[in-house]
Symmetry: C2
DNA sequence: CGCCATTTACACCGATCGATGCAGAGATTA
DNA sequence: TAATCTCTGCATCGATCGGTGTAAATGGCG
């Protein structure tokens, strides 16, 4: 993978650091998360972190990039799996939405807390890093979803003039208010009802 | 208004502190915002802050409460102004959405940055304070909007079985991706197009 | 004027934090 | 074995921060 200098020494230390940093950055935010706590979480010496990253900021950016990469991969997978062959549109969209929402309570959950940290720290993150994240994360999944919707529309099942906007609307309607009402994510029936309602609003809004 | 102890002394000091704290909390977040910086922003001595608030945490909660109160008042005003008497549903909803979005670039803008801070700090805020904010802010506006939509539905212009959910959908569709694509808020035509598209998706999803 | 509450500047404390230096332990490769 | 690299623990530095004490200054009100 990432070619390593020479011999041994750093087998998974770097991975452990990034994983631990994700955990703490997600929960505590950039400023609150101390490097000592990150080192402890990663089971690594404080000093070792500076063998792999020059800076706390660089570590933060690395965490963002790697977590975004992994989550976007998973999301694209979900899109492809549910929307490549559409049989019954509403059923497939609801299943897609349920798979989508299941990420929020999966082992990828810390990522979404990290996203909230990014939104909060937006004034203190280099614009280049922001646009990179935007493009490789939400932008990528949105393009992928838009392309799937465009194909469905081509077959005449939906009337969509702006697939990107439609993709945005669908993602919003599926996620609904998971930010304000996170407790509801525990109730499976409530999740299904929320997703179904969102899909129907989307569907009847775009139905041919 | 809020009855003050006795005589003079604290005319607007407290207001200045809360206003300055809002500015800095919104931009820098709870941890990064220092009390010295807040005092400077408010044109007040560091020590004076502790004459009005026992704690940084208490100051933060006060800022949240007062800002939420004011913004919610404004939002309820907008709802009432645009949706009390509905003439042409789409036109009125679009106008409502434009007024709604205009808040994001108004002098109330710092509030929405503060909201992002709340979302990020959600693990470090007393649950009671969270539910209070949730209920008096987003919850209140949502209930108000839901009530308006319910009345419109009663007159037969919309088919809504769950007004609260419909209100949530409408707010989402109007705001669209203002979080990810904040640059678009500067372009008035783009904003109108976004709002119109959101309203139409909502409208055709709920139209009778 | 004189009482009283508030404000202010300044000094200070203890704690935390990011970051560095260093010396030694461990492991791998030539 | 010797050289090289990483990891580790520890000590430390400088800076920042939340919060307090204090004494002087301010200004309204009797």
């Amino acid at each position: 993978m990432t070619e390593r200098r020479k011999s041994a020494g750093l087998p998974d230390k770097r991975r452990a650091i990034v994983a631990g940093a994700l955990t703490l950055f997600a929960r505590d935010g950039y400023t609150r998360a101390g490097l000592d706590a990150i080192a402890a979480e990663a089971g690594v010496s404080n000093r070792t972190i500076y063998n792999h990253f020059s800076d706390k900021a660089e570590l933060f950016q690395t965490v963002i990039q790697e977590s975004t990469q992994r989550v976007a991969d998973t999301m694209v997978d979900i899109i492809d799996r549910h929307l490549s062959k559409v049989v019954d549109l509403e059923t497939d969209l609801v299943d897609f939405g349920l798979a989508w929402l299941s990420l929020l309570t999966s082992d990828l959950a810390p990522h979404f807390a990290l996203i909230r940290q990014i939104h909060a720290e937006v004034e203190h993150i280099p614009p280049a890093a922001l646009t990179f994240w935007q493009d490789s994360g939400p932008g990528r999944t949105r393009r992928e979803l838009a392309e799937r919707l465009r194909r469905v529309a081509e077959r005449g099942e939906l009337a969509i003039d702006d697939p990107a906007r439609a993709a945005g609307h669908l993602m919003l309607l599926i996620s609904a208010d998971n930010l304000t009402d996170r407790a509801a994510l525990q109730d499976e029936d409530a999740v299904r009802a929320m997703v179904t309602a969102g899909v129907r609003t989307f569907l009847y809004g775009y139905k041919r």
